[in-house]
Structure formats: C-alpha cells, structure tokens
Symmetry: C2
C-alpha cells in the first residue's frame, strides 16, 4: 500500500486550498523526510498559488517555512538522524557541483530546487528535502514560532552577513512586516543603531519594541530629506516602487541600499549621487545553509524569534486570507492538525 | 609688483580659451605652488567650459591633470620641497576634519576643493593645491605622459582598490577611450582576465594591444547575451544610457557593475536579476591621496602609462576641438610653452 503524503493544495490558479494527497515516490539517497509540525505562511505562498511568477504547476501544496521531525533519511545521509527536529525553507536542494555550490553559495545555485516549485511543500503532514537544506534546530528555540526564520528570517539575516554590516553602522529597515520585524531584531542584536522606516502609525511603537532605536515616517519626504547622508546601510523589505533617489541620498559615503524586496518595476537610480558618494545598490536572495546555521545560533544567543499568530492547518484558507489582508502581526504559523481531523 | 599667474581661460560659456593672467594672492600655509610643465586635457575641462554642471564661474582656466615642479611651499608644509616633481588632479584640497577625511576617504570629503571650480587650473604657468593633493612622481614615470593619470587614471584605478577586484576575476571595461585605455592596462597588470566592450572596430586591435585578452562588440546584443553570467566585475567608463539589464545579466553571481561614467539619465535596473544573483550596481569618483600613491607605484612596476598626443599649450583651442571630435587616441597632453611665445 502506498504511503501517501497528505496536504492542502491549490488545484487551479488562485483557487482555495483543498485537501490533496500524493505519492512522493521512493526517498532519494541524499534526501530526508520531515513530519511537519509547524509551517509558516509567506507571501511567496500566495504568489505561487496565484502563479504570479509563471512557474506554478497545479496542484501545488504551498508551505516553505517548515519545522518538524525527521522520520526517514536516504541511504546516503550521514549528517542527520531520524527523530531530529529540523527546519526547511525556500530551497530544498542544490547541485553541489557548480561554482556557487563549491564556493559555499548554494543559495545562488542556478539549478537549486525550490520547496514549492514543481514539487509539494509544507502545508502537509510530510515534506522532503536534500539533507543539507534541513537545518537542525538548536535547543532554546521554540519550534512553534521559528518556522518563519527559514524563509523570511534568512532573507533578512543573509544581507547582514553578505554586506558585512558592522555593529558601528547606522542602519535603516524599510517595511516593518513579516521580514522587517525580524530584521529589526537581528540588527539591534548585531549592535547597530537601528532606524525603522514605516508609513504606519500603528507600527511605530511596535517597531521600537522590536529593536528600532527610532522611526522615520517613510511617507514624509521632509523627514527623509533631513536624514540625508546618515545611513551606512538601508535594507528594503518591500516590493513596491520607492523614491529611490531620496533613499540613496539618505546613505552616507560608502553607503549601501540593499533590497530583498522583489520590486517588479524597474528601479530608477541617478548615477551621480551613487558615484560621488561611493554608494551602491544591491540585492540578495535567501541565504546558504552555512548562513542559516549562523542565524539559528544567533537567535538562541540573543533570544530572537518571529512574532507569530497561529492557525490550525485545517484553517489554512483563513490564514491565507489574513495574510493577504495585511493584518498579520507579523507572521502566521500553521500547526499541523491533520491527525486530529 | 604682483607676480601674476599666466594661463588660458574661457571668459564666457562655451567660449574659446584666451590668454588670461590673475593674481593668486598669498600662498596658504598648507598649499604648494607648482610650475606647470604638462597638463592633460579631460572631458571635464570641456564640461566646465560649457558650464554643463552649473558650477562654472568665468573666467575659468581649465586643466586638472598637471605635472610640474614645486616652486614654493606654504609655511606649514613639511612633506614636500621646492624642486620636487609632482602631479595634481581633479581635487586640490580637502577639509581634513570630516569623517571621510579622517577615514582616508579625502576624495569623498563633501567640501573638497576642485582644481577648476571657483579657482583656476593647470592650463597655465603655475597652479596651487593643498600639499596632500600634490603627488610626488616616482622615478621611472615619463613626466610628459603621466598627467592623465591624475584624473582619468585615478578614476579607473580607484574602483579596482575600492571594489576589491581580484586577479582571479574576469573583468569587462565598457568604453575604450581616455579612461578605458588606462583601465585595460591596470586590469591586465592586476592579473585579471580582461575583456574590452567596444562598438568601434578601429579600437578592437588597439584594445588587445593595451591589455584586453579579447573584445566584445557592445552593440551586438547576441554577443552580450552569450556572455551572460560570466563577469565578476564590469567597469563602465561612458556616460550614456546602456542596455542595463543586458549588462547586469553578464555578471556572475556576486558580480558588480561599477560606473565611473557620470550617466545623466536615470539608470533603470530590474531588481530580480540583482537579487537572485547577489549582484550590485555602484560607482566611485576619483581616488584618495593614498590610492593615488599606490597607482603611481603600480605604474612604475608594470610600465603603465597613458597613451597620449601632445599639443603646445598655445594651441589649447585646437586640442580642445580634437578632444571634442572624439578623435584623441587616447588622451591629450598640453606642453607649457608660455615662455616660448
């Protein structure tokens, strides 16, 4: 009898998620199988359900911020054992052989497998991934909260490493949401002077609690203009068009504007303020396995966790709707209740 | 009797240069006075004569690629002596006290003095600057050729230092002209694999002689597309709008597109190729005094010099016209003949 994986899939573009079972086939030599306990809900799940990036194949089980226990390991896996608690994020495999992989940049592997692209993710009772992409949870992290670290968290922790942000830097975070609320915590613990750019009054106080030393109203161009030349690093977590030149001018000499927000429209930059200030505009995707491990250790040491709201997996459609409405504070985590229903 | 400095000035916007004398006033404590022997002609001289940047005050004596001998030093100058041969570039002073100055980034000083902005430059018998901006010429450099190092040369050498270009990198240079022809020499000596992007057939062979291992036709989008993902670093020396996304896609993972060309129109960049490839877009102005000194030493060790055409200073208008026509191969140097006329 085939042991089917049980989950919730969108069967058509933009459709509601419905119960869906599938046969995962034999376990590959270098894969592990994870019994899902918790799974965060990310905007990318919504984008995939709606096929916004043209790479969705239906049915698709979303979910790529998984926390669970290993229940099986492939014959070639030597680093993980059954029973270990692990996390899984956006990437589920990489080739091991290309230059980025050989250089420790497995997250930049051109053929990296993505957990919910042409395969099924973590809104399910089980999910699989290549062993190197299942990150053991260190003691001291609450499994019910930390799923969002594996996509949203890693996305904003990675730039701190890659861009060599220093504890002496003044840094800004644009967008205090699912990603930004973790960025504030990371950067505060990193030792930086942290400023939250937010247009929402309701988020002002929360931003301060999360780690910001102060806030700037991102819709107030006078406030932004008065901050010119003062930021070593600005991390953008939103995907909409901003007043780019105004933000570039907020950078100090050698300052860097870094976007993890996948802005759809072209970004229009004036060259002269970049040249004369020795500034730069850059971006990164999620981090590598090595960076993920550093992030987890850092979270334990500094007591950092996503701020989450819980929904049972059986209420995944309500959860998705809550996310879409922009009301989530700040990340939603689904709890697997498949065996209860 | 006042000892006037004699030079050639534009007295009106876009005007011909005419003989013009001025009283430089008393020598400041930290300044040196240089008897000009040679002075390169840079596009910025033309821009200043035409007030393209809105910061020209007339009359203006252009010229900011000076080589000459020190004939006087201010009372506070301890590092240079009368009789020393030095070079002077775009910057002629910096404040010494701001954070960039204190950090060794005197070239990023917000109040740095510019040799031909609100003061007179090197198309003259003498010119002055703060001592730190007069760079002693090491033995082994030909004074008649190296003036262009102090603006154009430093502009393209500086990114190699600032962007940490590695000898194992594959690098591209866009625009094989006054700046690009020096960049090819620097990068070849740096140990890189060097590719010249040029749309001019006539420059193809010359680019190879100057240090390029190969060339790519920058107007051939098929050639550019076939180079995607292959460059660690692309240095842009032109100031026109390019097919930005095509060049960004030529970058490898972690690749950087760096412009010293002061592009007037906004640069339109797609965010996704930058994010997923961990790429960046950046710029720099001229280098600092410390970088200038490194450049001079590097030129001696690797026998690097600008390729120049000579004109007597008295024929400065013909020289400017030659530059404007785009015919200069690759940089023009004026020889001071004021005492002959």
């Amino acid at each position: 009898m085939v042991d089917l994986f049980r989950g919730y899939a969108a069967k058509t573009r933009g459709g509601q998620l419905e119960r869906f079972d599938y046969d995962p086939g034999p376990l590959a030599d270098d894969d592990v199988e994870i019994a899902v306990q918790y799974c965060g809900v990310c905007h990318s799940d919504l984008s995939m359900v709606n096929n916004e990036w043209g790479m969705t194949s239906y049915p698709v089980i979303p979910g790529h911020e998984v926390v669970g226990k290993i229940v099986a390991v492939g014959s070639g896996v030597t680093t993980l054992q059954v029973g270990q608690r692990v996390g899984l994020g956006w990437f589920s495999s990489s080739c091991r052989d290309c230059q980025p992989c050989l250089s420790g940049d497995q997250n930049l592997c051109a053929t990296a497998g993505m957990t919910i692209v042409n395969r099924h993710g973590g809104f399910a009772d089980r999910v699989r991934c290549q062993a190197m992409w299942a990150f053991p949870l260190p003691d001291g992290l609450d499994p019910s909260k930390v799923g969002p670290l594996f996509c949203g968290g890693l996305t904003v922790f990675n730039p701190i490493i890659q861009c060599d942000v220093r504890p002496t830097d003044r840094v800004g975070v644009i967008g205090i949401g699912g990603l930004g609320h973790m960025a504030l915590q990371f950067l505060r613990a990193w030792g930086c002077e942290v400023v939250a750019f937010t247009s929402s009054d309701s988020k002002r106080e929360e931003a301060l609690k999360l780690g910001a030393h102060r806030t700037l109203n991102s819709r107030d161009e006078v406030q932004l203009a008065s901050a010119q030349g003062t930021f070593n690093f600005i991390l953008n977590t939103v995907n909409v068009t901003l007043n780019w030149d105004l933000y570039i001018n907020c950078l100090s000499t050698r300052g860097r504007f870094h976007s993890v927000g996948a802005i759809a429209e072209p970004v229009r930059l004036s060259a002269l303020p970049i040249i004369f200030g020795q500034r730069s505009f850059s971006g990164t995707p999620l981090g590598s396995p090595s960076t993920a491990t550093k992030m987890l250790d850092f979270c334990v040491r500094h007591d950092i966790a996503p701020v989450v709201e819980h929904f049972p997996l059986s209420e995944v459609n309500q959860a998705m709707k809550h996310l879409e409405s922009g009301q989530a504070r700040y990340r939603i985590v689904l709890e697997n209740d498949l065996d209860k229903s």
